[in-house]
């Protein structure tokens, strides 16, 4: 009895691929060796700097130095670039460790098979094996890498930022360095009067907005769907076509368009109000009316979606339920309350929750329409209609308060992700998906 598996595993642990070659899988072994060689080359030049970078975030800011009597700018460490470079290197390290672990496991497994007397797979057989049994994992590899570098890495980076003092005016590289500060940013945001006043104010409006915009579009859509679906209403297709138009106009265009339509001075809405002898309203310039306007405009944009959705549900309600209700002498209203409404609510509940979560983050509706204005003097860099999400955008791009923005983003993310995860875990398509088949 030879002890192939332990020997192969140890060999692979020492240097990737050795175990495979020991197992007589030469092509696979050579591939692994090449991977480890490339990785070693990369890590020897980068890893030390990555660890140094992630702990210190740079040590020398750029400064003026006298060179032969002339003052010259010497570039120093750019903390943020160092941070992201280190992060990328560390991610590669994690990936490499995973590959390394898999390589040991593979050597161990093949070794065990050899002990039972089975010859190890040829390279061709290995490829076949992967295509047949590890198909899903290899299929997911490409999208996975994209998501890792363009979604997960940036998120980790942003979370890290929240724990630094990366903010204007004192800590903007390359002139100054950025340092780790722990939870200070969160403390400032939640407790320090100047920030917390804005935070709670904006948070309150965000929640009011999310509730109102979801409820108005949902029930508005339901009303329209029921109106069209009534017995006796003719040209149903035509009404549907017309009412769907706002949905077909690209959202960005319709919002920019509405901004002109509601223009206080020259916009047609105030013009028409003038014809009726009414004074124009400060649609976008008064804090209260601006809030009303964003809700109205959002109804215009959002009702068609709900309408389509609910019309779809209406067609699935079995006719005999209504017939049974009619036999019992139910009025139209009772039929609606007892049959239609519960059926609609039941099948659209998940969508409703997702719309609510989406509205919390509805950047376009606010930013393109009012840009968060009118300005609120009591707030830190926020206007009266700013949501958390537009506030954080302004903090990043206009004010360079990057750490504060990241902290807000984390809080926002926890709220929204909580909602949607709870919702998704509840839906049947997650729990009992195998039962559909």
């Amino acid at each position: 009895m030879q002890r192939h598996k332990a020997r192969a595993a140890v060999l692979s642990a020492i240097f990737m691929g050795l175990g495979q070659i020991y197992n007589r899988q030469f092509i696979k072994g050579l591939i692994f060796i090449a991977v480890e060689a490339a990785a070693l080359f990369y890590f020897i030049t980068n890893l030390g700097r990555a660890f140094w970078g992630i702990t210190t975030l740079g040590e020398s800011p750029s400064r003026l130095e006298k060179v032969k009597g002339i003052a010259k700018m010497v570039p120093g460490d750019h903390s943020i670039v160092i941070m992201i470079e280190s992060l990328i290197t560390l991610l590669f390290l994690v990936l490499f460790l995973i590959v390394w672990y898999m390589n040991i496991r593979d050597a161990h497994k093949i070794g065990a098979e050899r002990e039972t007397g089975r010859p190890s797979n040829t390279f061709k057989q290995s490829v076949r094996y992967i295509l047949d049994y590890k198909f899903a994992q290899s299929f997911l590899l490409l999208p996975g890498i994209g998501i890792l570098f363009f979604t997960i890495m940036p998120i980790i980076f942003m979370i890290m930022l929240a724990f630094t003092n990366y903010a204007a005016p004192d800590h903007i590289p390359p002139a100054r360095l950025v340092d780790w500060v722990g939870f200070e940013t969160f403390r400032n945001l939640l407790v320090l009067k100047s920030w917390s006043h804005t935070f709670y104010g904006v948070l309150t409006w965000t929640i009011i907005w999310a509730v109102l915009s979801t409820v108005t579009t949902y029930f508005g859509g339901m009303l329209v769907a029921l109106l069209i679906n009534q017995k006796g209403v003719r040209f149903k297709g035509m009404w549907r076509m017309i009412l769907i138009i706002p949905y077909a106009v690209p959202q960005m265009i319709s919002l920019l368009l509405m901004r002109n339509l509601f223009n206080g001075q020259f916009g047609p809405i105030n013009q028409y109000l003038g014809y009726f002898g009414l004074g124009g309203l400060p649609w976008l310039t008064d804090p209260f009316w601006a809030k009303v306007t964003v809700i109205i405009v959002n109804m215009w944009v959002g009702i068609p979606v709900s309408m389509l959705l609910i019309m779809g549900v209406l067609t699935t309600i079995p006719r005999d339920m209504y017939e049974a209700a009619e036999v019992d002498g139910a009025t139209n209203y009772q039929k609606f309350r007892i049959v239609t409404l519960p059926m609609i609510l039941f099948s659209t509940a998940p969508t409703l929750i997702m719309q609510f979560a989406g509205n919390i983050n509805n950047f376009n509706a606010i930013y393109l329409l009012t840009a968060g204005n009118p300005v609120n003097g009591n707030y830190q860099y926020a206007g009266s209609t700013d949501l958390l999400v537009t506030w954080l955008y302004k903090l990043t791009l206009d004010q360079n308060k990057n750490n504060m923005a990241s902290a807000i983003g984390i809080i926002l993310f926890i709220i929204v992700a909580g909602f949607s995860l709870y919702n998704y875990r509840r839906t049947k398509s997650f729990q009992e998906e195998d039962m559909i088949q």
């Binding site: 992201i84 069209i228 106009v249 368009l257 002109n260 020259f266 215009w300 949607s420 839906t427």
Partner: protein, 282 residues
């Protein structure tokens, strides 16, 4: 008795029609207004009447000839970005959704939850990081950068909806093909792809529309005017001149909206299916 019921019915219908007409006007009016404004002579936002005295095409002409508004270039840029990110994005989304729908492996549910949560992250929170990342690779101010970012983000939004659709394709079909000796890849290309054509169309459409309307990210990455997309250009137009050249904006808005509206018109049915597929199925 009968007459009173008839009367009630009549009133109900009459009220419904009145309401529908009001809603229809509200739905059409803004679109009609901007369409007519794009043919209106002059530049101002204000107009005495909805329908202009006479019609002109000069704003459309100006969009394409003026050296200040490189609308033709922007249009071509956007088309290029939209087509490429659509192609790559759809392929990536199909790969993930097929893997998640048809195979059972250890970390499957975790993968699904992760996709869902990541999709909820406010996109531009990661903007700075992506910006720096692209800078590292010297990709700033290129269209390739936008294509990569849009395509890499596609599986986040689309996978779960697409998976919901693929779940409804009976698995007995796969098994029959497997018995006939088809490989996993063969099943994917010969059975799954043809059957999920509605889903692919839906995904392609949403992927295609994305670059036309996304301006946040495009604005961050595309620095020079020749490289802009239409969204950035239009945003800039509204922002820098407010009301001083409104009719020009109107013409641009019409040119962007019309192709997208036509696409929506053709695919209305699919859109409804797509909307309901992800959420309420089963």
């Amino acid at each position: 008795m009968i007459t009173s019921r008839k009367l009630a019915n009549f009133i109900r219908l009459a009220l419904s029609y009145i309401l529908l007409v009001i809603l229809a006007i509200a739905a059409i009016y803004p679109a009609l207004w901007i369409l007519l404004a794009s043919f209106r002579p002059g530049k101002s936002l204000y107009s005495k009447t909805l329908i202009p005295d006479h019609f002109t095409l000069s704003h459309y002409k100006e969009l394409f000839t003026s050296p200040v508004y490189m609308f033709g270039t922007w249009y071509a840029n956007t088309l290029k970005i939209a087509v490429f990110s659509m192609l790559i994005g759809v392929v990536l989304t199909l790969l993930t959704s097929y893997a998640l729908s048809r195979f059972r492996f250890k970390s499957r549910k975790t993968t699904m939850s992760t996709l869902l949560i990541l999709g909820m992250f406010p996109g531009f929170m990661s903007m700075i990081a992506i910006y720096l990342l692209l800078k590292e690779f010297n990709l700033l101010d290129t269209h390739l950068a936008l294509i990569i970012v849009y395509a890499a983000g596609a599986p986040l939004g689309g996978t779960l909806i697409a998976k919901g659709f693929l779940d409804t394709i009976p698995r007995s079909l796969d098994e029959a093909a497997r018995i006939d000796g088809a490989s996993n890849f063969g099943i994917f290309t010969r059975i799954i792809l043809p059957l999920s054509r509605p889903m692919i169309t839906y995904m392609a459409l949403t992927q295609f529309v994305g670059p036309w309307v996304d301006f946040i990210f495009a604005k961050l990455i595309l620095r020079t005017k020749e490289n802009w997309t239409v969204a950035v250009g239009m945003w800039d137009m509204v922002n820098t001149m407010q009301n001083s050249n409104f009719t020009l904006f109107a013409a641009g808005a019409v040119l962007i909206s019309v192709p997208i509206m036509i696409l929506f018109g053709f695919l209305q049915r699919l859109l409804v299916d797509g909307l309901t597929a992800g959420a309420s199925k089963g």
